[in-house]
């Protein structure tokens, strides 16, 4: 499903060049649940952004579903983000002025779906995360756990094959965190390909496989 080959990422900081990823090769099979751990600043999010097509590698090849992505233009990449990938962020990243339902609908709007179908699928996604009673609330009127569940519903609404979660429990208390992890485990069982970044080794163990990144290099590869 996901195949990264010798990926490097270098940030040009004017006088100095910072190499954040220094040649990462990684394969994630379809339906696999992979967790990534590593110290802060090691390049986890950078790698994840690459996988999620939010950023492009400096060198290396990226195959998604067998297609070479690194040569795609901005328009093609936005389509991939819209259809193939669901993003779950540590900071939820909901639009504050839209209701929960409108937030979930957003990716479907960009897909050009009719308003009726959009609404139906969004409600289904909100049902799945157990928030049908909060549909018309704005994010500011929701708890952190509820906001993250709305964000998960948004990632699910378009039914993408790949879910990328960058420290999804990082801003949550342990109860909400375990709710979110239960949801993610359930999605994995339903066949989604999931990549999860975490600092919590217990959370990391939920995945079938855990990789460790340090200083931009792949260090460990443990089957749990």
């Amino acid at each position: 499903m996901i195949y990264l080959k010798d990926i490097t990422k270098t940030y040009d900081m004017g006088s100095v060049q910072v190499q954040v990823l220094r040649g990462i090769t990684l394969h994630v099979a379809e339906g696999e649940f992979l967790s990534i751990i590593g110290p802060s600043g090691s390049g986890k999010s950078t790698l994840m952004n690459m996988v999620g097509c939010l950023d492009v590698p400096t060198t290396g090849e990226y195959y998604l579903d067998g297609k070479e992505i690194s040569t795609y233009n901005e328009k093609q990449l936005s389509k991939i983000r819209n259809q193939k990938i669901g993003f779950i962020f540590q900071k939820f990243n909901l639009l504050p002025k839209l209701s929960a339902l409108e937030n979930v609908e957003l990716p479907l709007i960009y897909r050009g779906m009719s308003s009726k179908e959009r609404k139906q699928r969004s409600i289904e996604a909100l049902e799945k995360v157990g928030l049908t009673d909060r549909m018309s609330h704005n994010p500011t009127e929701l708890s952190g756990g509820q906001q993250q569940r709305v964000a998960i519903a948004r990632a699910l609404a378009g039914d993408p094959p790949v879910l990328l979660a960058d420290e999804p429990t990082g801003n949550l208390d342990s109860k909400s965190g375990s709710d979110v992890m239960n949801l993610i485990r359930q999605l994995s069982e339903e066949g989604k390909t999931i990549v999860l970044i975490t600092h919590d080794t217990d959370v990391a163990k939920e995945a079938k496989r855990t990789i460790t990144i340090k200083d931009g290099l792949l260090l460990d590869n443990i089957i749990n």
């Binding site: 952004n49 999620g52 939010l54 950023d55 901005e74 328009k75 936005s78 389509k79 983000r81 819209n82 259809q83 993003f87 962020f89 990243n93 909901l94 639009l95 002025k97 839209l98 957003l106 990716p107 709007i109 960009y110 897909r111 050009g112 308003s115 948004r154 378009g158």
Partner: protein, 387 residues
Amino acid sequence: MNIKSVTKMAFQSIISNKMRTFLTMLGIIIGVFAVIVLISLGQGATAGVTDSISSMGSNIISVNVFDRKKSIDFNDVYEFEKLEGVKNVTPVYTSNVTIKYELETTDVSVTGGNENYLSINNYEIGSGRAISPVDVDYRNKIAVIGLTTAENLFGKDDPIDKEISIGGEKYTVVGVLQDKGSTITGDSNDTVVVPVTTIMRQSGTSAVNSITVQANSAEESVTAKENVENYLLDYFQDEDSYRVFSQDEMLNVLNQTTSMLTAMLGGIAGISLLVGGIGIMNIMLVTVTERTREIGIRKAIGAGRANILIQFLIESSVMSGVGGIIGAVLGVVASNVISNMMGITYKINLPVIIGAFGFSLAVGVFFGLYPANKASKLKPVDALRYE
């Protein structure tokens, strides 16, 4: 991605910041308002001037004499009547004097003319009689007065056969003119007409100020004018001694002046529209910076460059468009009120309204383009990182 959803998004974010939206629109509102009011009033004034010249009578050619050594006397005037294409001629002698009746006084310019003066200038007698050839021949001390003058001097009384004092000499009022309305150049009803011979003798002059020539028809006025000019050149031997104006020419000169003025006013107002556009650009740029994170989120879940570009463009054009509509409505209302107050005829000028609105919309699109493009070019990672 359908336009309806993007338009809805644009409206949502415009409404979410009402005060800022209003202030941004204010620039456009004032711009469109100014364009419509200034052009409408300019055109109204032009129409007023044109009307007042037209009301002087048709086929009119006026001759003014400037020569100091040689002058045109009363009798010379009748030489013009012999010229081809000329129908009627009247000498004109104007002097500003004080007019008295009992205790009432009024300052009016008294015009001396012959029996043709009233008809050439499109005056009609309302009551009493007009100036006759006999009055001119015998230098009778009679006067025909306008409605306003009559009211000023006599109030509700009948002026006919009353004696008034014009510059200290007694005249008998023999006629009152019909209402001729007022124009931008003044009240046509505030006038006193006397036999030209009478007023010239009173002033101790034998030279007329000007001569008004009426051509047989509009078509023949060109020939008539040529003949008048030839005669004058022959008489004075100097082109600078006299000036011949046909009504057409006067209209042209005036129309040119006023339409230039209107264009200038419209241009100045147009600049204010442009400034309003810059206001929109400024706010849109601030908005783009403020909403960097939102743009990042939208891109992360699949918005393409085009989606973001269109969203921001619609936001700026909705602001300028709505501002344009408000400005147009206010402009039309204000033009009506002002023209009523100034006594100008005002017609709703659809091309100007549509033009001003269209221009405001174009301004919104044009000045929205740069911020929208900037927003659409943001890289998703950078935008998401933005706090």
